[in-house]
Subunit: 146 residues, 2 copies
Amino acid sequence: MPAETKSCRSTCPIANALEIVGDKWTLVILRDLMFRNLHEYKEFLESPEGIATNILSARLKFLTEDGIISRIPHPTNGTKKLYYLTERGKTLMPLLIEMTIWGSDQISGAETPPHVITAMRNNKEEFANQTLESLAEWEAENLRTL
Amino acid sequence: MPAETKSCRSTCPIANALEIVGDKWTLVILRDLMFRNLHEYKEFLESPEGIATNILSARLKFLTEDGIISRIPHPTNGTKKLYYLTERGKTLMPLLIEMTIWGSDQISGAETPPHVITAMRNNKEEFANQTLESLAEWEAENLRTL
DNA sequence: CCGGATCCGTTTCGATACTG
DNA sequence: CAGTATCGAAACGGATCCGG
């Protein structure tokens, strides 16, 4: 009995997400953009995971070419750039939220606040909306020129 | 306003998921286990992504040691083994579902059935339950000996 | 045959030094 | 400060070999 018939509708399009989701550093950058309000090259570098400069450059380039993020010159500081999520990039949020939830309750008893997580788990929608809102705030401040 | 206070509660535990989610081949195997009802070494090898034997071995080993999957000797064929998701492994399903959804509607207009996806998107719970059910069916047939 | 370990040529990654 | 060059380390893919 061919297994393909009963499950995996449409050849399991997970493959299309592998380039993004299957890469550790890409995920770290996306997390920083979504949940930590980071927008600068230097800020990404200082993330606890310790990404290297060439890796960061490569991933930012890939994400930009792929339409997940975009960038502008820093409004006041000419030497800096600001990176931010495109609308397409924001569609990855449910995925990142699931990652956060799963990562939270796997290290049970560790440094993870107990019921904050269950709250997040029960209010994914609200959590997503709050996060989107804070992204919108940042955009309102920094993307006026567009 | 320090960005850390308003978002990223609890130091963003995404990091805990990176070993699993940040690896392409691990995700491919998990997809095969969850959505394609594959349970044998050889079946994984034949997946369209084309994983190499040594890579497959390494990932299966890691996933086993990490408690995501488990394995038993094939009930009728002594030389084969059967791999299957543990309860812990099944907790990754929401994440894989989000990956599937995201992968589906990014390749817009491609080989993806149109409204099947939106149905899946609107019925994540149901889709998850259906999938869990089909996993349970398989277990009922193959894990009797436990 | 099947799972899987080992070896090897090639590619990719990543830490650091360096440049504009 | 953003990004590149370099170079050793690791991962990958493929083939082969081994044990049951």
